[in-house]
């Protein structure tokens, strides 16, 4: 057990958990931020993706003890009122089916557009390949990212 302090969505939390607890379970069980999902526990599916200092990471594979003074953003904190370009594009294109993997998809896509505002098809495939969707929303994920990119440029 250890005492930890963590900045999530611009808010600092202090809590006590086992030092090997993955960030995912701190977010969910300790901080009650349930938007970040458990999918596989081994970094294979991307459902647990969050931003750490602006980059996408699999929170299921990051022990809490390895995080130092970094800023975490989860789906709940991606925008003030759910108005991030990617969140809006996701709704317009009607991407979600069961919706479970979509927090991870959106966080990965948002990080991609931060890095490459006008991604090519290959950029999209490369960035999104780590996120599994069993409902098969892939074709719409691509479309929504393209729409978000268009909205960024205009």
């Amino acid at each position: 057990m250890g005492k930890y302090s963590l900045t999530v969505n611009k808010k600092t939390h202090t809590f006590e958990v086992a030092s090997d607890t993955p960030l995912l379970w701190v977010l969910r069980d300790t901080l009650k931020l349930y938007g970040t999902k458990y999918g596989c526990g081994i970094g294979q599916c991307g459902a647990c993706t969050v931003h750490i200092d602006g980059l996408p990471y699999r929170s299921c594979c990051i022990p809490i003890e390895s995080i130092k003074d970094q800023s975490i953003v989860t789906i709940e904190g991606l925008s003030e009122n759910g108005t991030h370009t990617v969140q809006l594009a996701w709704q317009v294109v009607d991407v979600p089916q069961c919706g479970y993997c979509q927090s991870g998809q959106i966080m990965t896509a948002a990080a991609l557009l931060d890095r490459i505002p006008q991604p090519t098809e290959a950029d999209i495939n490369r960035a999104m390949k780590g996120n599994i969707c069993r409902c098969g929303t892939y074709v719409r994920i691509k479309e929504a990212i393209k729409l978000a990119a268009k909205n960024i440029s205009s």
């Binding site: 300790t30 081994i42 789906i75 709704q91 069961c98 996120n131 069993r134």
Partner: protein
């Protein structure tokens, strides 16, 4: 319907928050004696929010949106202000006369509620109109409803539904309502984004895994590894030494005495967090000594041996016409013998199975995403020896259902654990549990023997299927063959069987659509023309049959759908045109579901053409062209999503190995070795619907069965390589 409409609706005021209209809308096929049993509620609140409470479960098929659309169409409600809630199963919700009352599956929600939901909307709209007319002291004819308001025709007066609901509730429901004709639809047929999207996009959409209840503890489970495994011994000390782990509980298995019930026994690690429970589970797994039982000796090699043995034993006959043996002996000049193999397949639900259960002396409360809450309660009532009235099941949206959540195992286990510890417990399956303790698409081999006469007519077909479960055993040949015989044999399976999106249709269509394609090439005929000719002959046979059986009625209505879908598809892809070298088109057709009187004896039909490229030992898909006839399309955006999803669902087993068995257990464990399609491997899809105002016939599974044969037939046309077992091992998928 002959019953008085008054019997179908009751109105009750809900203190403070609005007016609740309760309906008993019989399922279209419901012939049971009438008892008022509400299965649909519409609440109108004073701030004009309409809440639709439904018994259907949200699995990602968009049912809450499409049912809201049906309601809004007739209620003249503002679709954007409709909220959906899921009806919990509890003692206040009367028994629906059978345990399947609240199940969601078989692509049947819109099929069953198409009429009922619109009628409910029309009834309430009529009552609101009447309430406004009385308020304004005028006749209903001077009023009209639009976007959750009633307006006066002759002046600018208007009242919201929220303002009128209380007055409307005092009125007698109308005896008869007239539903809109298709030309008047404003919402049905309009592509509508799912109403839950804004919650999903902000992480607010809540699954049962995101729920917590007071005093809840956490559990992870170690399930018995084979069907007849026993524990020899286990050492709990290291597990109990993990901080946060409080105890280990043994829970029994429950017998499988019906299709969807039965559950594995296991050990539960109880802890104060999910992580501690999962760590404890892992530690415990390393400290259990199993007796793997007789099933522990089984693997895919022994199963294949058993399937070989089956060929020497008797088969059960499902269908026969003409004389197969005589035809082979006397008429046939060329015979084709081919076999196809379909693997065990897992669901890979994105949300691992989970349940919160709280069992007390006289109550059982469940929080879970399930396709069968009521059925599960019926099952648990027997297991826990507790009256049904003492159950409450809070249904949650499922992070994927696909047939897996029809099964009761994951809820049963949580209830058995809670019963022992006397606390509410959240049981979270790991991904490994989900892959290794699934309810699998059955392993199956199909042996076809077809014969051509000297004019190259298909005169005989003999089918022998060996499978591991009765669902979908045998095949509906759909094509006309004068002498035909369908036989099957069911063998014992080391793994539990399951319904896997499209269930038997996926398995049947693969072999049948490849076989008929092979026969066409064997007869030197065009695969499209060959199919059309045999479907037309079958339609003639059915027309001549002159019997009034359900099957004949179904076939007579269904075969024209097939023909229309094929023709539309042929034109769309310009079938027969010359393609570049290494490219080919493959076609397949299938239906999903069965015809019923209220759907005019039709079910949904899907045709697909796969445009495949094979080069240097690598295959890829340029495009999948899809044509679907599913009757009226309620939400084109949702229906397209179901087709896209179905195609990508069916594509994974063509690329990646199915479930392998070693020592009676699933050999794979997580997404690294049980692989599924990812975004880069998802081909372009071109979708069209046959324009129709028919009764809807379902959309959730229709496009799954045709994908495999369309691609395999396409691979043949592109390369001359005939693949008969999946996954494709002869070639590599470009994006594997």
């Amino acid at each position: 319907m002959s019953l008085s409409r008054r019997n179908f609706i009751k109105v009750s005021a809900v203190t403070g928050s609005g007016i609740l209209f309760s309906f008993h809308m019989p399922k279209a096929a419901d012939n049971n004696p009438f008892v008022f049993q509400p299965n649909l509620y519409i609440k109108i609140s004073s701030d004009n929010i309409i809440t639709l409470r439904i018994a259907e479960q949200e699995l990602g098929q968009g049912v809450s949106t499409s049912l809201s659309m049906l309601l809004a169409e007739e209620l003249e409600a503002n679709l954007e202000t409709i909220e959906t809630e899921f009806i919990p199963y509890n003692k206040n919700l009367p028994d629906y006369q059978n345990e399947f009352g609240l199940t969601t599956g078989g692509s049947g929600s819109i099929v069953a509620k198409w009429k009922a939901m619109r009628e409910a909307g029309a009834i309430v709209r009529d009552m609101l109109l009447e309430a406004a007319a009385r308020t304004w002291n005028t006749s209903k004819d001077n009023c009209y409803a639009k976007k959750s308001f009633i307006h006066h025709q002759k002046n600018n007066k208007s009242l919201s539904y929220g303002q009128l609901a209380e007055k409307a509730a005092q009125l007698t429901p109308p005896e008869k309502v007239v539903l809109k004709t298709p030309e008047a639809y404003e919402i049905i047929g309009r592509p509508t984004p799912d109403l839950k999207n804004k919650f999903v996009a902000t992480g607010q959409y809540k699954y049962s895994l995101d729920e917590e209840v007071p005093d809840m503890v956490f559990a992870a489970i170690v399930l018995y590894p084979t069907k007849d495994a026993k524990i020899q011994q286990y050492n709990p000390s290291k597990t109990l030494a993990i901080p946060g782990v409080s105890r280990i509980v043994e829970f029994p298995g429950t017998p499988k005495n019906a299709s969807f019930n039965g559950s594995e026994a296991g050990l539960a690690v109880i802890a104060d967090s999910t992580w501690a429970a999962m760590k404890g589970k892992k530690m415990l797994e390393d400290n259990v000594k199993w007796d793997y039982g007789e099933y522990g000796k089984k693997d895919m090699i022994s199963l294949r041996e058993d399937f070989k043995q089956a060929l020497k034993e008797d088969f059960k006959e499902r269908h026969q016409k003409g004389d197969v043996d005589a035809a082979f002996n006397r008429e046939v000049t060329k015979t084709l013998i081919v076999s196809y193999e379909n693997p065990y397949l897992a669901h890979g639900l994105m949300e691992p199975l989970n349940t919160i259960a709280h069992v007390k002396d006289n109550s059982c409360e469940i929080w879970a995403g399930s396709q069968s809450p009521q059925y599960t309660c019926y099952h648990l009532a027997k297991i826990l020896d507790m009256p049904l009235e003492q159950f409450t099941f809070h249904p949650y949206p499922s992070g994927g259902g696909f047939g897996r959540r029809y099964f009761t195992d994951f809820v049963t286990q949580a209830a058995l654990i809670s019963k022992q510890i006397g606390l509410p417990v959240k049981v979270t399956w790991t991904r490994e549990d989900e892959i290794q303790h699934g309810r699998y698409h059955p392993f199956r081999q199909e042996h076809y023997r077809g014969g051509l006469d000297k004019e190259n007519n298909l005169v005989v077909a003999h089918y022998r299927g060996i499978t591991t479960h009765a669902w979908g055993a045998g095949v509906d040949l759909i094509y006309h063959v004068p002498n035909r015989k369908v036989e099957f044999s069911i063998r014992d399976s080391p793994l539990h069987f399951g319904s896997w999106r499209s269930v038997g249709a996926h398995i049947s269509a693969f072999g049948r659509e490849c076989f008929i394609d092979e026969m066409a090439h064997f007869a030197k005929k065009d695969p499209v023309e060959f199919r059309k000719e045999l479907l037309q002959k079958m339609l003639d046979e059915m027309t001549d049959a002159n019997d009034n059986s359900d099957r004949t009625k179904f076939k007579k209505n269904q075969l024209p759908r097939y023909l229309k879908v094929i023709d539309t598809l042929r034109k769309k892809v310009n079938w027969g045109s010359v393609l570049p070298e290494n490219e080919g088109l493959g076609i397949a057709i299938s239906d999903y579901g069965y015809g019923r009187a209220f759907t005019n004896w039709r079910s949904s039909v899907c045709g697909q053409v796969a445009h495949v490229v094979v080069k240097d030992g690598i295959w890829e898909v340029k495009k999948i062209t899809v044509v679907v006839d599913c009757g009226t399309v309620v939400n084109p955006s949702g229906a397209r999503a179901q087709i896209e999803g179905s195609i990508y669902w069916a594509l994974s087993p063509l690329i990646y190995p199915g479930i392998d068995i070693k020592r009676g257990q699933v050999a794979q464990s997580n997404f690294h070795d049980c692989k599924f399609l990812r975004i880069d491997g998802a081909p372009e899809i071109d979708i069209s619907f046959i324009s129709s105002t028919d009764h809807p016939t379902g959309m959730g599974e229709t496009a799954v069965p045709t994908l495999t044969p369309a691609i395999l037939n396409g691979i043949f046309n592109a390369s001359g390589i005939r693949v008969r077992n999946i996954p494709v091992k002869e070639l590599r998928y470009r994006y594997a």
